[in-house]
């Protein structure tokens, strides 16, 4: 377990540095990237493009391996069904992302700026996650009762 926690911390460090280096952490940049009909700033396309290079290679390697280095097996989702919760969730997320310019990773990283806007956004994001937890546990309880 210690090894896996150290891997998590190291991967988080790379991720956090990457968010700041790429300027993905900056809501003004994200909104300029999303503003395709205005003064469009395409630079964040390079963030996604750059990120897909190592991750695609890693997924190709993982298919050749029976298990990861520090874990008994790969825990990669096998569900391939495009269902209503997936699309509805993506719509709600896209709406929130477009309103503020922060998605979960950059939101957490932005806390280190100490800005109240970052703290307020993350608090609301956690409240939204908690609301989902309440709703989904009620739904599964209702499903079991039937």
């Amino acid at each position: 377990m210690t090894q896996r926690i150290l891997v998590s911390i190291a991967c988080g460090l790379l991720f956090g540095i990457g968010l700041v280096v790429s300027d993905m952490v900056n809501p003004a940049r994200v909104l300029a990237f999303l503003d395709v009909t205005g003064a469009w700033d395409p630079s964040l396309a390079f963030v996604m493009g750059g990120a897909l290079i190592p991750s695609s290679i890693a997924y190709a390697i993982s298919r050749q391996r029976s298990k990861p280095v520090f874990e008994a097996q790969f825990h990669v989702p096998k569900n391939r069904m495009i269902d209503r919760p997936l699309v509805a969730g993506a719509v709600l997320f896209g709406l929130g992302w477009g309103l503020v310019g922060l998605c979960p990773g950059p939101a957490i990283a932005s806390l280190v700026t100490g800005r109240w806007e970052a703290v307020l956004f993350v608090a609301a994001m956690l409240a939204g996650m908690f609301a989902y937890r309440i709703v989904s546990s009620r739904q599964s309880a209702a499903a079991q009762a039937h």
């Binding site: 896996r4 891997v7 998590s8 911390i9 190291a10 991967c11 988080g12 460090l13 991720f15 540095i17 968010l19 790429s22 300027d23 900056n26 809501p27 003004a28 999303l34 503003d35 396309a45 963030v47 996604m48 750059g50 990120a51 897909l52 190592p54 991750s55 997924y59 990861p68 520090f70 874990e71 790969f74 989702p77 495009i82 997936l86 699309v87 509805a88 969730g89 993506a90 709600l92 997320f93 896209g94 709406l95 929130g96 992302w97 477009g98 309103l99 503020v100 922060l102 998605c103 979960p104 990773g105 806390l111 806007e117 609301a124 994001m125 409240a127 939204g128 996650m129 989902y132 989904s136």
Partner: protein
């Protein structure tokens, strides 16, 4: 956009992708921040996940170092308090309902050619762009 303005986004993207690559090959899991954040506080079932906590701590540490040493590091946010709360609620609820965000669906899901992640990424990108179009160009409030 100057001629070399792609260098920083590309470098940052490579670091994010390297993080996702190592997390998969070493820990065997998807580096999706919305799921890791929920699991870190025990909201995915199975109690508090130390891997989620470790990843979040790493993000904070990495961002703190980068903000301290990068002169051009910036954080410009203009949303009002009402929009911050509304946006945060939507991002939190939506990413849990939709099983992922920009990292889990965008970076990891597209890399493994998951049809769910492709659908989710296309959906949240289009909705976010339309939202910006409406708030900036229709309502005129930037």
């Amino acid at each position: 956009m100057s001629d070399l303005s792609f260098v920083w986004p590309l470098s940052g993207g490579l670091l994010i992708g390297l993080s996702a690559a190592l997390y998969l090959l070493l820990n065997g899991r998807i580096a999706g921040i919305s799921g890791l954040a929920a699991s870190a506080i025990g909201w995915t079932g199975g109690g508090i996940n130390p891997l989620g906590l470790g990843f979040l701590a790493g993000i904070l540490g990495g961002a703190a170092v980068a903000f301290a040493y990068m002169e051009q590091a910036a954080f410009t946010i203009t949303a009002s308090p009402v929009l911050l709360v509304l946006g945060g609620l939507l991002v939190g609820f939506g990413t849990r309902l939709g099983s992922g965000c920009t990292s889990g669906h965008g970076v990891c899901g597209l890399a493994r050619l998951s049809p769910r992640s492709l659908a989710a990424t296309a959906t949240f990108m289009i909705v976010a762009a339309v939202t910006v179009y409406i708030t900036r160009h229709v309502m005129g409030a930037a």
